[in-house]
C-alpha cells in the first residue's frame, strides 16, 4: 500500500467500524473465556465479553490515530518508494496489541486468551480486507492514499 497520513487514519477508522465491529460480533461466541461466576457454572455469557472486546477496538482506534499511524508515517519517510509493504501492515499487530492489552481493563469472563484470539483474528481480517476486497467498494481508494471520506473529490 502507499498510504498518506490522513489516508492511514481514515482507513483504520473505516476498517474498525466496517470490518472490526461485525467481526467482533461474529467471532465472540467462539472466543475462549473464563468459566461463569454463576452458581450453576459453565461458560461465561458472550454478551459479558462485549465491554472488553469493544473497549479493545476503541483503544485500537485511539492509539492508532494518535500514536501508531503518525509513527508509521514517519517510518515511511525513510523509504524511497514512500510505500508500506503488506508485511509491515501485518506484523504491526504485535506492538499495537501489546499496548492495548496494557491499558485494557479486562472484565471476566474475558481472559488473556480471549484478548489474543480476538485481537489477532480481527487484525488479520481487517488486513485482508485492506489488501484487496476494500477496492470492490471503494474503487478510487487505492489512488487516494487510503482516503475514504472525501466524497466525490479526488
Amino acid at each position: 500500500m502507499t498510504p498518506t497520513l490522513i489516508g492511514r487514519i481514515q482507513t483504520r477508522l473505516f476498517l474498525i467500524v466496517v470490518v472490526g465491529v461485525p467481526w467482533t460480533l461474529l467471532v465472540s461466541p467462539f472466543l475462549p473465556r473464563a468459566a461463569s461466576d454463576s452458581f450453576l457454572g459453565g461458560r461465561g455469557a458472550t454478551s459479558d465479553l462485549y465491554p472488553t472486546l469493544f473497549a479493545a477496538l476503541g483503544w485500537l482506534a485511539l492509539f492508532g490515530v494518535i500514536v501508531w499511524e503518525p509513527l508509521y508515517h514517519l517510518a515511511q519517510q525513510f523509504r524511497w518508494e514512500k510505500d508500506w509493504p503488506m508485511l509491515f501492515g501485518l506484523i504491526t499487530v504485535v506492538p499495537e496489541a501489546i499496548l492495548v492489552w496494557w491499558v485494557l481493563d479486562g472484565e471476566p469472563p474475558a481472559t488473556g486468551s480471549t484478548f489474543v484470539v480476538h485481537a489477532v483474528s480481527t487484525w488479520i481480517v481487517m488486513w485482508l480486507v485492506a489488501n484487496g476486497p476494500i477496492r470492490i467498494f471503494l474503487l478510487r481508494w487505492r489512488f487516494r492514499g487510503g482516503r475514504v471520506f472525501d466524497g466525490a473529490a479526488w
Binding site: F78, W80, D83, G132, L138
Partner: protein, 524 residues
C-alpha cells in the same frame, strides 16, 4: 536530435495517407488549413460523416482500459467507437515487450494490482496466478515484497489472456473500428471531427463527428542515440547497430554461432532484459559472448538526496522496482505531483526520474557470475564515434567523464536507452498542437488537466481527453503503466459523468459490476 520511426508491428501500415485519387473525396486543402471545421465545410468536401457520441483513438491498451471503465459505468457499446490500426489492444505492447526480450512466459515490470482487465485490481495477478497454478508462491511473494523477495510481477501472457477475456465480456469488438486516424479537429458548435482512413478500404476517408474524443496513441516514436543514428545514416547498417525495441534476434543467433563482443548501452529495465538473454545464451547454450555494458552514468552506491530520499544502487546501476517510486500511483508522491505546477512539478519529475532497473535476485546472480568469470564488464562513458572495422566489426571511441578517451572493438551494439521521440513525431499529436489548441506541459509532452482533458481543446459541450505516454509531465507521473492508464480512465469517466454522459461509478455500481466481473457476466 535525429529521429527514426522504428519498424512498426508487421500488421501496422505506415501512417501517411496515400495521395487522393482523382474524384475520390479526401481531405481538401481548405479542411487541412482550417483549425475549426464547420458541418458545411465537411459536407462541401463530400466526405462521409458518421455520428458517434465518443471516439477513442489509438486502439491500444489506453483505449481498451477507458472502454472497460466506461462500459462498467453503464455506457452502451453504441456510444463509443475505438479507432486504431491494430487487431488487438495489446498488439503493439506485445510486440515491444517481445522484441525487448519479454516473451509471454517472462514477467513484466508491473504491480500485481495493475490489471487492465480489472479496474478494481482485485483479485490481483498474484492471487489469480496462485489460484490457477495451485501454488502459494505468488501469495508469499506479495506478502514479503519488497523486504525479503523481489516485487511480484505478472507474466506478460497472463496480462494478455486476461485482457482478451475482458474484451469479450465488454463487447470490445463491437466498439472497434480498424483504421488510421489522420487528424482530430474541433467542430464549430461543439465536439470534434476525427478524420480516418478505414483499413478495409471501404472509403478513402471517413469523418467521425463526436461530442467527446480520447487520444491514446502510445509512444510518439523511439529515438536512437545520436552517435548510433549517425552510424546508421552514414553506413546504412541496421545489422550491427540495433535498438532493443526493434527485432534483433540475429544478434543472439550470431553470438551463439560465432561468439563475439556485444556492447549493451543503457542502465534501465530493457538493458537488464537484454543482458539476461545474452547471459542465459552463454550460460545455457555455450555462446562465447563478451558483454561490455556501457553506462553514461555509473552509480556507485545509493543515490542519496537526503535521508528521506535515498534510492538503492550499485555496480553502475540505480535500482527501483517500477518506473516511478510506488507511491507516485496513489500516495504521498501522487499527491505531490497533483499539487505542483510548472517548474516545481518539473523539478519533482527530474528528482525522481533518471534511469533505473529493478534489483532482481536472478539478475544480480547472473551479473555476479558473469563478472567473476570475466565475460561481463561495466564501463562508464559516452560514445564519441562508431565506425565500421573490417567486414563485421565496429570500432567505438569512448569518452569517459574524466575525458579519458578509450577505444573498443565490438561485433554488435544494442541500444537500450529507450529514448522517446518528441510528441511531434506523431502526425496526429503534431496536428493537435498546430490546429487543435493543445499545448505542451513542463516536460514538453501533451498538456492535460488533472481530469486528463487536453488543455485548450474544449469545444462546449464537447471535451477531448488524452492518456498514456504522450501525457507524461502532467499531474500524474505513472501515466505510462497499466495502473496509470486505469487512473486516467477513472478520472476521465468521472469527468464525463459530471457532464451527464455516463454514470459515476459509486459504491453500489462498483460492487455490482465487480460481482459481474467475478462471474464473467456481461456488464449489462
Amino acid at each position: 536530435m535525429t529521429n527514426e520511426q522504428l519498424s512498426p508491428p508487421p500488421a501496422t501500415p505506415p501512417g501517411t495517407p496515400a495521395p487522393p485519387t482523382g474524384g475520390v473525396p479526401d481531405l481538401t486543402d481548405e479542411l487541412r488549413a482550417t483549425s475549426i471545421w464547420t458541418d458545411e465545410l465537411v459536407a462541401a468536401a463530400r466526405l462521409p460523416v458518421v455520428d458517434v457520441p465518443m471516439v477513442s483513438i489509438g486502439g491500444g491498451i489506453g483505449s481498451f482500459i477507458l472502454a472497460d471503465v466506461l462500459r462498467i459505468s453503464g455506457l452502451p457499446t453504441s456510444s463509443l467507437r475505438v479507432i486504431g490500426n491494430i487487431d488487438t489492444p495489446w498488439q503493439t505492447y506485445e510486440y515491444l515487450t517481445k522484441v525487448s526480450q519479454i516473451p509471454r512466459h517472462e514477467r513484466l515490470r508491473s504491480d500485481s494490482t495493475g490489471c487492465p482487465d480489472n479496474v478494481w485490481g482485485f483479485p490481483g495477478y498474484s492471487v489469480r496466478e496462485a489460484w490457477n497454478e495451485k501454488t502459494i508462491a505468488p501469495l508469499f511473494n506479495v506478502l514479503t515484497e519488497p523486504i525479503f523477495t523481489d516485487f511480484y510481477t505478472p507474466r506478460a501472457g497472463q496480462a494478455f489472456e486476461a485482457m482478451a477475456k475482458e474484451a469479450e465480456r465488454i463487447g470490445f469488438d463491437e466498439m472497434s473500428w480498424r483504421g488510421q486516424v489522420r487528424m482530430i479537429r474541433r467542430r464549430h458548435g461543439g465536439g470534434y471531427f476525427t478524420a480516418y482512413r478505414p483499413a478495409d478500404g471501404s472509403a478513402p476517408r471517413v469523418v467521425v463527428r463526436s461530442s467527446f474524443a480520447h487520444v491514446a496513441v502510445g509512444y510518439p516514436g523511439l529515438t536512437f542515440l545520436p552517435d548510433l543514428q549517425r552510424f546508421r545514416d552514414t553506413h546504412g547498417d541496421r545489422v550491427r547497430v540495433v535498438n532493443a525495441y526493434e527485432p534483433h534476434e540475429h544478434v543472439y543467433d550470431t553470438l551463439r554461432k560465432r561468439g563475439g563482443t556485444v556492447v549493451v548501452r543503457g542502465g534501465g529495465i530493457v538493458a537488464s532484459r537484454i543482458l539476461q538473454r545474452l547471459m542465459e545464451d552463454r550460460m545455457h547454450h555455450g555462446a562465447q559472448t563478451q558483454i561490455v555494458h556501457l553506462l553514461r552514468t555509473f552509480v556507485h552506491g545509493p543515490q542519496k538526496r537526503s535521508r528521506f530520499a535515498r534510492r538503492h544502487g550499485g555496480n553502475g546501476l540505480a535500482y527501483q522496482g517500477f518506473n516511478w517510486p510506488k507511491s507516485s500511483w496513489g500516495g504521498q508522491l501522487k499527491d505531490d505531483f497533483d499539487r505542483l505546477e510548472g517548474d516545481e512539478r518539473k523539478a519533482l519529475y527530474e528528482q525522481l526520474g533518471g534511469t533505473h532497473t529493478p534489483k532482481r535476485k536472478l539478475w544480480q546472480k547472473q551479473m555476479e557470475q558473469a563478472r567473476r568469470e570475466g565475460w561481463y564488464s561495466v564501463t562508464q562513458g559516452v560514445v564519441d564515434s562508431v565506425e565500421p572495422e573490417g567486414d563485421h566489426r565496429l570500432a567505438l571511441r569512448l569518452a569517459a567523464a574524466n575525458s579519458a578517451v578509450s577505444e573498443l572493438t565490438a561485433d554488435f551494439i544494442v541500444d537500450c536507452t529507450g529514448l522517446e521521440g518528441d510528441i511531434r513525431s506523431s502526425a496526429l499529436l503534431a496536428d493537435l498542437l498546430d490546429h487543435g489548441g493543445a499545448g505542451r506541459n513542463p516536460m514538453g509532452r501533451l498538456d492535460v488537466e488533472r481530469s486528463f482533458e487536453v488543455r485548450g481543446t474544449r469545444t462546449e459541450p464537447g471535451r477531448m481527453y488524452a492518456s498514456g505516454s504522450a501525457t507524461l509531465g502532467g499531474y500524474y507521473a505513472g501515466v505510462d503503466s497499466f495502473l496509470g492508464l486505469q487512473y486516467a480512465a477513472l478520472r476521465i469517466a468521472d469527468d464525463l459523468a459530471a457532464t451527464g454522459f455516463t454514470n459515476r461509478i459509486g459504491i453500489g455500481r462498483s460492487a455490482a459490476q465487480w460481482w459481474r466481473w467475478a462471474r464473467n457476466r456481461s456488464v449489462e
